[in-house]
Symmetry: C2
Subunit: 177 residues, 2 copies
């Protein structure tokens, strides 16, 4: 599927509500669940989404539109949420994410981007040259990937509890031999 | 995590809203997207969830409580939605799913199940003996697995569009060599 803003915006707009409905007031055993050491809980993932709103998508869009390929994006900190989310409730994080996303989409729409603009080029600090369309498509795919991750982390808490049904649920992974 | 109704019910209750927020009024290019031949679109997945409400979870719960291991569950038709959803809109399917789930959770709660009841045994036609707790845990994990699937199917539509970022998004699969 080619990237267009008309397809992408309806997904970007609803992500905060999807995450809110999945997690608002959910028992802590789900919000704090992980897939093992050094993996993220739903709480951690919401913090990561917040950090993306603050430092990644629109910030990089503006760097790309201002500097093109001459200035690489600032590297993204994949672990910032562990410090930034400390002491906050999940409800606070969900509200913060929703507010930041709404503001970022207002910024995005105010740019009045054309199909030609989507071909404009920037530079990722590790991946090299990229287009604005690729950056914005990644915003969408990144949202969906973390929605899938939240559902997977939660579902895997019942890997043992489902008993014999595990073989019908590939998301839970293959049982040990 | 051990299965308890107190943990499971908040997840089962919110699934219809999660799916609704993800898909209500989404452009058709997302609702009809698949991962290739013989894979399911978000539209197909909602039809499958409806069929589960009609023929699987509570129906099997009642067979188990009535007949124990003496009567195997009726086999589940994994393809019923292709006929049943024909001619319906996604909005109709989302409403149908929400109505059926709400009614099923009323039935479930009306049973007043105890921790001992969760150990009661039934018989799956292929998997053999199982407990009520395992059946109900599977209901939860099945919901979460299909939420993850909807997000994955949608996200993978941008596998090419994200360009170089694909290597950071494992959900999109490994690029060909």
């Amino acid at each position: 599927m080619n990237f267009t803003l008309d397809d992408a915006l309806p997904v970007l707009r609803r992500t905060p509500d999807v995450v809110r409905v999945l997690l608002w007031d959910i028992p802590d055993c789900w919000a704090e669940a992980t897939e093992g050491p050094d993996t993220w809980s739903p709480f951690d993932i919401v913090g990561h989404l917040i950090h993306g709103e603050r430092t990644d998508w629109m910030v990089r869009t503006e760097i790309l539109l201002t500097y093109g390929e001459t200035r690489p994006f600032t590297p993204f900190d994949r672990f910032a949420q562990f410090e930034a989310s400390r002491g906050k409730t999940l409800q606070e994080l969900l509200d913060t994410f929703a507010g930041l996303r709404a503001a970022n989409l207002i910024r995005l729409e105010s740019l009045g981007l054309t199909a030609e603009d989507l071909e404009r080029r920037g530079r990722h600090p590790e991946l090299g040259p990229c287009t604005l369309g690729q950056l914005l498509a990644t915003w969408v795919a990144h949202d969906l990937s973390h929605i899938a991750q939240i559902a997977r982390v939660m579902g895997r808490q019942y890997t043992a509890a489902v008993g014999p049904w595990r073989v019908y649920l590939p998301m839970l992974g293959t049982p040990p031999p």
